[in-house]
Symmetry: C2
Subunit: 226 residues, 2 copies
Amino acid sequence: MAGQDWGYPWPDANDGETRLDRAEIVRVCLEMLDEDGVEQFSTRKLAARLGIKSPSLYWHVKGKDQLFALVLDHVVGQCELPSRQAGWREQLDTIGHGLRQALIAHPAAPQLLLGRPIFGPNGLRLTDHVIGALRDHEFGDKLASYGYIVFINYVIGFASQETAFGKGPRQQLDKVETFLAALPEQQYPDLTAVAGEFLAGHFTARFDLGLSAILDRLAVEKTQHR
Amino acid sequence: MAGQDWGYPWPDANDGETRLDRAEIVRVCLEMLDEDGVEQFSTRKLAARLGIKSPSLYWHVKGKDQLFALVLDHVVGQCELPSRQAGWREQLDTIGHGLRQALIAHPAAPQLLLGRPIFGPNGLRLTDHVIGALRDHEFGDKLASYGYIVFINYVIGFASQETAFGKGPRQQLDKVETFLAALPEQQYPDLTAVAGEFLAGHFTARFDLGLSAILDRLAVEKTQHR
DNA sequence: GACTCTCCCTATCGCTGGTAGGGGCAAACT
DNA sequence: AGTTTGCCCCTACCAGCGATAGGGAGAGTC
């Protein structure tokens, strides 16, 4: 494990054959992450599932770090980007919801994102798109960069905490539920009082509450800074 | 590694002696995480630094998972909670900024938070406080729980991405910088255009932009739902 | 027929988190 | 006083990890 290597740029793997292979590896890897979580994953198990022995993996992929970066970028790539013709707010709304969906569809993904910037090709394209959507509509460079960071951090952060609570493998939610139920009421009166709401699961509505709050604010900032 | 165990409730360790020991372990562990990052950490190195052999660690602590949960809760505990007499908005503002500061002061902390709810005593107290601050001021249970989740996810998400970008051990920021500088301009025109702003580092201002946006929105929601 | 490139292999390394089981020592009990 | 209990550490070990070294079989090319 190379530590801080977020895995890009990775060698291009131009020819069709190799590329297919790598895509397959990423696909299976993601499959395993979805099933058992990142904690249980190992490159050896992945190799076994691919029908090869562990060292062969290293011919296709530089290491576990790069592998995860590839998987992450694949997941980010599932988020479709809207037309640049649309309004900035509509574009950010679409991307925000789309990215969240892509991330929570693969509960391990936010965990991969943890210490890593999203610097794969798909991540960069998404980043460029968001910043571009703002700059196209009279946000200055500074406000566009502020806006992007607030926006993307919110989306990623929300998705990451969301998966921590129930979307994990094998219904971690049950554990959270019983844990909350067992809390001493007099010690945490307010938390226990709303524990029911906590798990009610209207995550999309909650997500949208914060997202639209941020977009509202960006609209205000934009008019103020012109 | 027990997998999904976020480590609470842990045995109380009532007597003063043992308690001191555990606190010391947590302190040194956090120290090591700050220095070398979570990737480089190992329980054996920790044991060595504590002057004991690795298996002895397991007398004090159930495992690495619980250890990290303890460390995380210690970090969360660094965030001072404001008086409940203050206004809800002031309280959330204080906690938001305080929690972010506590997290980014220890760059590995957000990473520990990744797949884990903050369910240590300090985390629970903070959670209860935030929800209580809202419920004290006429937010309904549902809106209070919505508000808490949006709020806490934003703070955690922001801090986590923030550390991913430059607060990491050994100036990861340099790497990000050269990476951005090397990007093909015609492929990512908007990203490269604002790359300078990106790294300018006014994170507190950006953080506050989003936080106040969320708090503004909560104020509006509150009046609408009454 | 020799060369090269692709893709896999066996063997092995140093390290990880964690367990089994025991020893010494001090305080507490009888 | 002698025994027991509980604390805290140890040596020895395990299976599994990510990764590397180095080689070999097959296909395509000159």
